[in-house]
């Protein structure tokens, strides 16, 4: 599975016997120890390892929390408080799990944006990218399901909003089937709990495929050119494992700071109010990591042809995720890395800001006026609202993929690429330019 020929030689008769029957030691050797990794990967390439770490944290804390949580509409809220008060270190487990979801998404956003910046989805990594998008989708589903479990006001009404969205697309019969009744109620909670426990293991399974695909084709790298030989790579162990230990510790420091000193930073106060089906909260907000998609949903406040605004919103939101699947074929540029694409570089960073703006807009109450220009007939202020801002943001989001990506590849003039990774590294060391003597490329590997 690892790219390149296997470097494993069994050391004795027993290992040769095992290797002929189940080459598990060879597998570990080739994938965890000697796996050739480009030597110019920067810190943005460590987030894959961080994500695996996040997944393990969520699964371990989640399994222990499930030992104490009661998935019942009458008891769930108090069982969470029981965990917070009476279970030994239950408050720690729950705060880790709750904030772990947010840090999981911080890491996944860096990981995805790194992929977009360095063109990591391009030939031959299309399947690797698609598997990643599937994981992202599964993460959103899992995050949403987990959000409903404490059965707080936010849980209950969030579940209402999202399931009704699916209803707009698939009809009332579908929503009732999903709810297990005529409203979000106990059967809904029980099945959401069951699915919330299931999906992380599906994520784990798809992650195995994702890593398999990665180890089959090898890592991309900041230059976007393929390694040309051993002078361009280092073995995973100890070079990148040492780096992972360091970055995971730094990541955990930020994580621990939130868990211990601002555990409700990412949450909404309505998470501490027990769910009441008779009382709609003034403002229903999704978790921050789904804010952009929620903003795109709400941006569609107009009808289009025969499609009404509600259905259009749902289609826009699903399209925003769906479009990620075809990114490898939308981008026509032969050059992978944005470091060598001056125009794409700008478009990419505007896209980052655009996504951040949408994430923010999605958390705001709908219809807030940002720039008042007048007063409507009913006395309410009119002008440039959150909805208008979201519409601009949504337009750029789609334009980035549908217009900018295909056209830039045809019209943009990329900068000159270095000859090889080793040469690019040496060029950087010498203080700029890609002009390093070609002969120097092979030298530094002698002591590796």
């Amino acid at each position: 599975m690892a790219s390149g020929p296997s470097t494993y030689t069994p050391s004795n008769g027993l290992m040769r016997w095992l290797d002929a029957r189940l080459p598990i030691v060879r597998f570990a050797n080739d994938n965890l120890l000697t796996f050739p990794t480009p030597k110019n990967l920067n810190y943005s390439y460590t987030f894959g390892a961080i994500l695996l770490y996040c997944l393990v944290i969520q699964i371990v804390t989640g399994i222990v929390l499930a030992m104490h949580f009661v998935p019942n509409a009458a008891l769930a809220f108090n069982s969470v408080e029981y965990i917070m008060r009476d279970v030994n270190y239950g408050w720690l487990l729950r705060y880790i799990h709750m904030n772990g979801a947010s840090f999981f998404f911080i890491a996944v956003y860096v990981h995805i944006l790194r992929g977009l910046y360095y063109g990591s989805y391009k030939d031959p990594r299309e399947v690797l990218w698609i598997l990643g998008v599937i994981i992202f989708l599964l993460m959103m589903a899992t995050g949403f399901l987990g959000y409903t479990l404490p059965w707080s006001q936010m849980s209950l009404w969030g579940a209402n909003v999202i399931t009704n969205l699916l209803g707009a697309l698939l009809g009332t019969d579908f929503t009732q089937w999903l709810w297990g009744g005529f409203s979000v109620d106990n059967p809904t909670l029980q099945r959401f709990f069951s699915l919330h426990y299931l999906l992380p293991f599906v994520i784990l399974g798809v992650s195995v495929l994702h890593i398999w695909a990665l180890h089959h084709v090898g890592n991309s790298n900041p230059t976007g050119i393929d390694p040309k030989g051993p002078q361009d790579t280092v073995p995973l162990m100890p070079y990148y494992t040492a780096k992972y230990f360091f970055v995971i510790t730094v990541f955990t420091i930020f994580f621990a700071f939130v868990v211990f000193y601002a555990p409700n930073l990412f949450g909404h106060v309505d998470h501490y109010v027990e769910g009441n089906p008779l009382k709609t909260p003034a403002h229903i907000a999704p978790e921050w990591y789904l804010g952009a998609f929620y903003a795109m949903l709400r941006a569609m406040d107009f009808n289009f042809l025969f499609i009404d605004s509600k259905l259009l919103g749902v289609l826009t939101m699903l399209g925003a995720i769906g479009i990620l699947f075809i990114v490898p074929w939308l981008d026509t540029s032969k050059v992978r890395s944005a470091n060598y694409r001056p125009v794409y570089w700008w478009c990419f960073w505007i896209f980052v800001a655009d996504y951040a703006m949408l994430s923010w807009a999605g958390l705001q109450p709908a219809g807030v006026i940002l720039l008042q220009t007048g007063v409507g007939a009913d006395g309410a202020p009119t002008g440039f609202s959150i909805t208008h801002l979201s519409q601009i943001g949504t337009a750029y989001y789609f334009a980035f993929f549908i217009i900018i990506m295909p056209l830039l590849g045809l019209f943009e003039t990329p900068r000159a690429l270095p000859e090889s990774i080793a040469q690019a590294v040496l060029g950087k060391k010498r203080g700029g330019g890609a002009a390093a003597p070609a002969g120097a490329a092979a030298a530094p590997e002698s002591r590796v």
Partner: protein, 261 residues
């Protein structure tokens, strides 16, 4: 230039989504209060928690329950830390509804295992609902279930009642104007007045403002009883991770020392 743009984009990406201010129909911004549990090393002030408990017991508890708080919690470390005997004595003051051997409703003395759920009988629910139009909310998580938490509670029960309703705001029968409460009209009448609760500590002012501060601090402890343990453990964890991070960084640099990258 590039660096500035990257920094700006990243700042937008990290700061904006969390700075989301929820405006809607919120009441006035509550005035800030400094609490002893603020900050990284914040702890509860035991005496303040005891005073806050006294205010809760003598004033709030006639209508509001604390379902998530048990009498045994009063002696827990990190809380008001009453002695076991004091907590038992406080529990014994409560009359807990139960049934006698003949199945007739009666009451018994409270124990450490009982919770602060006063309005448990349907009759009491009906009385409160008749008086206020709704059942007064449980206060167990109030300090976490409202924007600004204890600062909001302090303002709501003190300065919130200090202003007359502005022109054009009509107060329905049974309602009271409160500048802090979202919407401005609250069913709860002004709950505190100066000198209402007799503190044993004579040097503590017996004013509405002080009562409100004390009971807000108490409710923060009720909502987040493991706050002190959390602050303490966090310090150790982050210190440990910091040292480990430095060691990992040095070993990372050492592993890569002969590789151009």
């Amino acid at each position: 230039m590039r660096k500035i743009i990257i920094a700006a984009a990243l700042t937008l990406g990290t700061v904006l989504p969390f700075g989301a201010a929820q405006a809607s129909t919120a009441g006035a911004e509550p005035p800030h209060v400094d609490f002893s549990f603020d900050g990284l090393f914040g702890t509860f002030d035991r005496n303040q928690l005891k005073r806050g408990f006294q205010v809760y017991k003598e004033v709030c508890s006639s209508c509001h329950s604390l379902k998530l708080l048990a009498y045994r919690n009063l002696k827990d470390p990190g809380g008001p830390e009453f002695t076991e005997d004091e907590a038992k004595a406080l529990a014994a003051e409560a009359q807990i509804p139960t049934l006698d051997d003949a199945g007739e409703p009666t009451t018994r003395k409270g124990t450490l295992a009982d919770h602060f759920a006063y309005q448990t009988t349907p009759q009491e629910h009906a009385t409160l609902k008749g008086a206020y139009g709704s059942i007064p909310p449980d206060l167990s998580l109030m300090a976490k279930g409202r924007e600004h938490g204890p600062v909001y509670i302090h303002a709501l029960i003190s300065v919130g009642y200090e202003h007359e309703a502005p022109e054009g705001v009509t107060i329905p029968a049974g309602g009271n104007y409160n500048s802090i409460f979202p919407g401005g009209v609250i069913a709860m009448p002004k709950p505190l007045s100066d000198g209402q609760v007799a503190y044993a500590e004579k040097e503590i002012p017996q004013t509405v403002d002080q009562y409100a501060k004390d009971v807000s601090a108490f409710l923060m402890w009720v909502a987040e009883p493991k706050l002190e343990a959390r602050h303490r453990l966090g310090f150790g964890v982050i210190l440990f991770l910091g040292i480990m991070g430095v060691l990992f960084f040095l070993s990372y640099r050492r592993v890569w020392r002969n590789v151009d990258h």
